[in-house]
């Protein structure tokens, strides 16, 4: 798939300008304004990309210019690649102006390869993109055909001789080599791929490098070079297509329910459950919306699946799930599956295991997986590292921790970061008599400590901490520490770390 006029189409499809007037997008290259893309009307007047903007104006006074934005073009190309996933799950971006699809085994769903090519080009044209699509047994050949040939379709069962005959007619530029290498070939009198194919390989490799030969082989489909898809192909996928876009929330939800039923039947046949779900909504005008939801256990229940996706949708609603002109393709896929073994008995809640696992998934889908946590005890002496909060959806149930030594007092709450306080202590090792935290003064009425916690010396330097459990006159309890012994530093600092 080749988009020859991406820079201009990007701007023109917003509709601010007349599409048949000459128009070009410019880019500053080495301090000079040069054309990055031209539309059909401008090309008819002899303008080509790479020309200086001043020259172009001289040749065509009616030309309008706008600045090109490579980042926006890249983003647009990615959106186009996403849009193509309605045809096949394997879609890759081929920068700067192409999209690669692997349609092996998918073309017959759209009435054959020729019909598929027509449909892609027609739908892109409806969105305002000029596109040239080509289909070939190898991605390099397809890429070259789309750009340099009028031939659009090479059947996958074509013989190697036939493919070589097609490739031979292509110009050297079809190899996609860097400009110096290409110029060197031109100087050597090689004009077409056929010239290269006719020559012995060893001298070519010696003169132009192994990379050139590798490209040549890819072009002639002698080696298989796979594309790198933007998204991994899902393990299982259910899909619905509609002649018109769906806009009503009820319809979308009903479709999701149906898709969940299909997917669960598929999963059930293979005896697996989904651990990661992805839903994709393809809007009529080309925008694609992806949703993902993780589950804390292998899931194969349509109702739960729908509830989970409903939460993700509800979370979107706040920023707006833009139905626009409606969705015409909806997909639901299991990105990651797991064989569901016997349910782990040692879970969070002994009795209603399933209900609460569902609860965790639902909360995670709405709030974000990193906001639903389980506390895991760690082997660490520094209090902030002694407990790790891990997302409940990923982790297993926390291991039953060894009971903490009962003599040590630990606060019920730990501040997210220790906060500095101004403290007055009468003795070097003693507790503070009074301290100021968040501008309020507290008077010590009772204390316990110090509990000395040394830093992990094997990880480098740190200061020893002396922890105190302090109760103030009003009965509030704090867990303070002095960072540094007087032997270690002259100015130890005081921090409040926890509250009881």
């Amino acid at each position: 798939m080749f988009l020859p006029r991406l820079p201009t189409d990007r701007i023109l499809r917003r509709g601010a300008r007349a599409p048949d007037a000459p128009f070009a997008a410019t880019l500053k290259i080495k301090g000079a304004e040069r054309l990055a893309g031209v539309n059909a009307a401008a090309e008819a007047r002899g303008l080509v990309p790479g020309m200086a903007a001043a020259d172009a104006r001289a040749m065509c006074p009616a030309l309008t210019l706008a600045e090109a934005d490579p980042h926006a073009e890249q983003a647009l190309l990615e959106a186009i690649a996403d849009w193509h996933r309605r045809f096949t799950p394997l879609a890759a971006v081929d920068p700067p102006d192409g999209v690669m699809l692997d349609v092996t085994g998918a073309a017959h769903l759209f009435g054959g390869e020729a019909a598929l090519l027509d449909e892609i080009a027609r739908r892109l044209a409806a969105q305002g993109f000029e596109a040239r699509a080509a289909l070939a047994p190898g991605p390099a050949l397809a890429r070259a055909l789309a750009r340099f040939s009028t031939l659009r379709h090479v059947a996958p069962e074509a013989t190697p001789e036939h493919i070589e005959k097609i490739a031979a007619r292509l110009p050297i530029a079809a190899l996609g080599l860097p400009a110096p290498a290409q110029a060197a070939m031109q100087r050597a009198g090689l004009r077409t791929i056929g010239d290269l194919l006719a020559r012995p390989r060893a001298p070519l490799a010696a003169r132009f490098g192994a990379a050139a030969l590798a490209r040549l082989d890819a072009l002639a489909c002698r080696i298989r070079d796979p594309i790198v898809p933007r998204f991994e192909a899902p393990e299982f996928l259910a899909e619905r297509r509609f002649p018109h876009g769906l806009t009503r929330a009820e319809d979308i939800e009903a479709t999701l329910r149906g898709l969940a039923r299909e997917l669960c039947a598929l999963l059930g046949r293979h005896g697996v459950g989904a651990r990661r779900l992805a839903a994709a909504f393809y809007r009529v005008d080309g925008a694609v919306k992806h949703l993902e939801a993780g589950t804390s256990r292998p899931l194969r229940d349509p109702a739960t699946m729908t509830a989970l996706l409903r939460e993700r949708l509800a979370a979107l609603e706040e920023e707006g799930l833009d139905t626009g002109y409606g969705f015409d393709v909806m997909q639901l896929s299991a990105q990651e599956v797991q064989r569901d073994g016997p349910a782990a008995g040692d879970g969070l809640f002994a009795q209603e295991e399933g209900d609460l696992a569902d609860l965790i998934d639902r909360l995670g889908a709405r709030l974000g997986l990193r906001r639903v946590l389980r506390l895991h005890a760690q082997e660490a002496h520094l209090p902030e590292f002694a407990v790790a909060a891990m997302p409940a959806a990923y982790g297993e149930a926390p291991a039953p921790s060894a009971a903490p030594p009962p003599a040590l007092s630990r606060p019920l709450r730990l501040l997210e970061h220790p906060e500095p306080i101004d403290a007055i202590a009468l003795m070097p090792d003693g507790p503070p008599l009074r301290f100021r935290w968040r501008r309020a003064l507290y008077e010590t009425a009772a204390f316990e400590g110090p509990e000395r916690i040394a830093p992990p010396w094997w990880k480098g330097a740190g200061l020893t901490r002396d922890y105190f459990h302090i109760e103030d006159q009003e009965g509030r309890r704090f867990w303070l520490f002095r960072e540094g012994l007087y032997a270690e530093t002259l100015q130890p600092r005081w921090w409040v770390h926890g509250l009881f």
Partner: protein, 273 residues
């Protein structure tokens, strides 16, 4: 530690022995803890079967103490699973629940799910979902405004708690000190704060006593009549909490062990059980 500190510890241990003797060794028995015991026992048992309560801090500085009381109130129900919801603003103010401390207070970390929310509306939603899913106890610390937490919102939570049969505890931290002016459909509302320490300020830090067990000064601001047993009243009272048995005790009990000759005369009264 110095001489003063160790004598303090000895004093504390003696008092503990005295407390055990006064109860006839009941704590040492292996019988399962009965939640009905002690003050608030009946109220707590009634709430744990599907009820919604609010714990409002007495003053803004008492937020952590109020959260500690809510945790103590929820601890028997938490054996069936505790969902602890902390809004970001509350986490900034008073930190997050700390696993080691909770374990020391008798909560198995495997029974805890910690949920962090961004806004008050999310907190209420998460709390409702958790209650509906049948969690044993749901504790939510929210920075929601009293205006946003209205009758409708609290009614939803109450119905969810009834349906799931768990205990819902909401801490509207921003409403500190305004417990009486809050309007909601909750079954009960407590106003809780830290219990001031009885000892006079000391000049010498080493002469200070050790902190006692967790203690609060609280009152019931409202409660449905059916929840109230004879012993629970609406006045201010001081309570202690024993994490081993999950039972509250009055800080000023009826049964005070007789002072013996070898004990210090000046016993801080709140420490005895």
């Amino acid at each position: 530690m110095s001489q003063g500190g160790s004598s303090e510890r000895l004093f504390f241990l003696r008092r503990r022995i005295a407390a055990l003797e006064a109860q006839g060794g009941a704590r040492l028995s292996a019988s399962p803890p009965a939640a009905q015991d002690g003050p608030l026992g009946a109220l707590r048992a009634a709430l744990a079967a599907g009820g919604l309560a609010e714990v409002v801090p007495t003053r803004p500085r008492d937020c952590a103490a109020a959260a500690g009381f809510a945790f103590a109130l929820a601890s028997p129900a938490a054996r069936r699973g505790l969902v602890w919801i902390v809004e970001d603003m509350a986490a900034r103010e008073i930190g997050l629940p700390y696993g080691r401390g909770l374990a020391a207070a008798g909560l198995d970390p495997r029974r805890l799910a910690l949920v962090r929310t961004r806004r008050g509306r999310e907190t209420l939603w998460a709390m409702e979902e958790a209650l509906k899913a049948g969690a044993g106890a749901v504790l939510a610390e929210s920075w929601i405004t009293p205006a946003a937490y209205d009758l409708t919102a609290s009614r939803r939570l109450l119905l969810a708690a009834r349906r799931g049969g768990g205990l819902g505890l909401l801490l509207p931290l921003r409403a500190a000190g305004e417990a009486a002016r809050l309007a909601s459909a909750a079954d009960a509302r407590f106003e809780a704060g830290a219990l001031p320490h009885p000892a006079p300020p000391a000049r010498n830090t080493l002469a200070l006593p050790t902190p006692g067990p967790l203690a609060w000064r609280l009152r019931l601001v409202k409660a449905r009549a059916r929840l109230l047993a004879g012993r629970d009243s609406f006045g201010w009272r001081d309570l202690l909490f024993d994490p081993e048995t999950c039972v509250f005790a009055d800080a000023f009990p009826q049964r005070v062990p007789a002072p013996s000759a070898d004990r210090p005369d000046l016993a801080p009264r709140r420490e005895s059980a």
